[in-house]
């Protein structure tokens, strides 16, 4: 049974279509990266997955339990870190942990202590006096210490410094090792690239691409940079090869499909340096977004 399953999940706010027929499956134990720029529908998706908003059409279920119709049962499996870390301003961090744990009904107290130390949370400080990043840490500690089967994280590292970002990655790795499922909404590509098994890219309320990083890379173009002795000569037209940028004596090429024809052509030319690399997630991501602007990715 899937940890998350959405079928034709659609949400309309007045005349705005925020989410348009999303189909999503996340297997138990998987770390799923949910990518998209601001306004793509990431938070809407999460609110539907948690049954906080009602789907206009379609359905969402967590571990086979419908999120809208039976949220309490579904939430027994879930811990959530909200994108905006609003907590109860008059409670201290320790009181917040106690409150959330009691309402949830379970907590791993030892692990909580470990996480408090790891994330350097000051347990006696009131939430009111915490910066955004520190409130985010309080949420993260509470969520991971619950050892919930499924962690739904909405841009959890916004506001964290690089040290804490590293602590976050460590904690995600531990959760994954224990077999917990993680749904990580983000627009920090390096983070998703570092921790996620599978990635979905959301644009305008639709899932435009999904797969493992290898799969996504395979479908996208390689980047080949060539430096010549002297001025860059004209290249013969080759299928799947386009010139992305041209300098005095260098070319940057985008190659989709086979590299061999290009290499054969280059063998005839005075090449002094050649680099080839797979596209980064950033390039895959930008590729999907640039297309909407009419620019060629």
């Amino acid at each position: 049974m899937e940890a998350i399953r959405a079928e034709g999940l659609t949400k309309r706010y007045g005349s705005t279509l925020a989410l348009d027929g999303l189909d999503l499956r996340v297997q138990p134990g998987e770390v799923y990266g949910f990518l998209g720029p601001n306004g793509a529908g990431k938070t809407t998706t999460i609110r539907l997955l948690l049954g906080l908003h009602r789907p206009t059409a379609g359905s969402a279920s967590l571990f086979g339990i419908d999120a809208w119709h039976d949220p309490v049962a579904a939430h027994r499996h879930v811990a959530y870190v909200a994108g905006e870390p609003f907590l109860w301003p008059s409670l201290t961090s320790a009181e917040t942990f106690a409150f959330l744990a009691r309402v949830r009904g379970r907590v791993d107290a030892d692990y909580e202590r470990e996480l408090v130390a790891r994330f350097r949370v000051d347990p006696d400080k009131k939430v009111r006096a915490l910066s955004k990043g520190n409130r985010q840490k309080v949420q993260l500690v509470a969520a991971f210490a619950s050892r919930a089967d499924l962690l739904i994280l909405d841009e959890p590292t916004s506001g964290l410094d690089p040290l804490m970002e590293a602590a976050f990655r460590e904690t995600v790795a531990e959760a994954k090792e224990r077999g917990q499922t993680i749904f990580l909404s983000s627009h920090i590509l390096s983070e998703v690239e570092a921790v996620c098994d599978r990635v979905g890219i959301l644009r305008g309320g639709r899932l435009v691409d999904e797969g493992t990083l290898e799969q996504l890379r395979h479908l996208s173009a390689h980047t080949v940079e060539v430096t010549f002795a002297g001025a860059a000569p004209p290249l013969p037209p080759l299928p799947g090869v386009s010139v992305a940028a041209a300098g005095e004596s260098a070319l940057r090429l985008e190659v989709s499909g086979e590299l061999r024809p290009l290499l054969a052509a280059l063998a005839e030319l005075p090449v002094v340096a050649l680099t080839s690399r797979e596209p980064s997630l950033e390039e895959i991501f930008l590729h999907h977004y640039d297309a909407t602007d009419g620019r060629v990715g």
Binding site: P71, A82, F86, R102
Partner: protein, 530 residues
Amino acid sequence: MAASGSAAIGRRAFHDGRVRTLSFAALFAFMAYVNVSGYEHSFPTLRDRLVFVHSFGDDASVRLFYGQPYDLLHVGGYVAWRVGGFGAIFAAAWGLLAAVRALRTEEDAGRWELLLAGAVRRRDAFLAVLAAIAGGWLLLWLGLWLGCVAGGLAVGGSAYFALAALTPALVFAGVGALVSQVAPTRRLALELGMVVLALAFLLRTVADTSSGAAWLRWATPLGWAEQLRAFADPRPLVLLLPLGVSAALLWAAGAIALRRDVGSGLIASHDRRAPRLRLLSSPTAQALRAERGSLIGWLVGVGAFAVIVGVLSTTFQVARLPPTIRRELARFGATLLTPSGIIGFYFLFFVLAISLFACAQVVAARREEAGQQLETLLSLPAGRRRWLAGRLALAVGGAVALALLAAVLSWAGARSQGADVSLPDMLGAGANCLPVTLLFLALSTLAFAAWPRATTGIAYGLVSVAFVWQLFGAALGAPTWLLGVSPFHHVGLVPAQDFKALAAAIMLALAAAALALAFALFARRDLTGE
């Protein structure tokens, strides 16, 4: 550049408070108009007026709200008393809310910091906020003045009266500005301001109701408004007091605002403490923990008022009146002349206060949703129906406690003066507060479920309009069926009158229906942020 920046801040502050300001202005205009036109209607002859002067006009318990009358034989003096005494309290509350909202609330939310990061000097930003408050005050003045003039009072006299009645707003805007500098949070600032307002009210109460304490009127801004004696014996020089004090408070607030760190207050906020783990076992327990302070405030306020009402209930001595006047008085409802009659009349104000408390609880629930704490709660295994039911249980529990306290303490107050009032009767008066309270609780909850962003306005608006309509609608000559729209119209003045069982049953049935609808709607709607 800087000038346009501070102008924008001023406009923004004015815009933020416009609904509240316009509501208060409309209320003042309505109260003034109704009382002007109602005077001729209620007291057509000199004889009627004399009877009134020697009965209610003399009664200490009536002065509790309306203050000291100076001339009840003419419509102007009557309006200055009826509207001015009551209105001064409203005006003070407006001034306090306006200043705290524009200064401390903005700073608490971090928006003030954002504004000051722009090309605006602190002094200019502060002055811009004061200008916005002054603009709002001018609207209140215009409303009150127009209400008087529309009813037929003299233009000049009305202008002076409106100025006099609204001087507490100026003083309490100063108080609000100062507590906004002292307190580090919105909540503490409001609490401090409310304490000052309660003290001012208490001083006026003592000055107006105890013999030999009239000099205390000089010690409270609410008393200064009385001392201006509009329409009776105007003393414009007294204006120097409120204007001077207001200016001094604002100057002090400004001086502090220029010196302290943005985001802090003179009182350091206690941001660290060892964990206190009581009342954290469920969302409802935590809500009780959060509302504890305000619940205690309500209990103290209602309790103090109940004691005062009880003690004053015996001040009206029918036996002292000449027999002819006693006969005339019967026309005005003789039940009001006994201690239980006066208590019964004042319990209408307890019904109002407890209904407002119930509304405040729904507004607090809404604030938990708007602040997105509810989103965090409902992502846990906590159901939304249960959360709402817990919040409502808290409201009902608080309302019952308030009603019980009002009953017991006003009984104790009356007994201390030897009045013949029985405890069971008074408990009945307390219970009599609850059907209306539950109805308004249910209607506020329905507003919360159906139009979450409008919760505050609808909740407080319904109660206020219904109450004002009950107090003054009759003076406008409105037909009975139209008066009956207000739930307050159907409250029997227990213990002097009988409990109106049918009306109570209908209100409870309506409340149940509204609650059922509210739960159904809330279960189906999206959580809604600010």
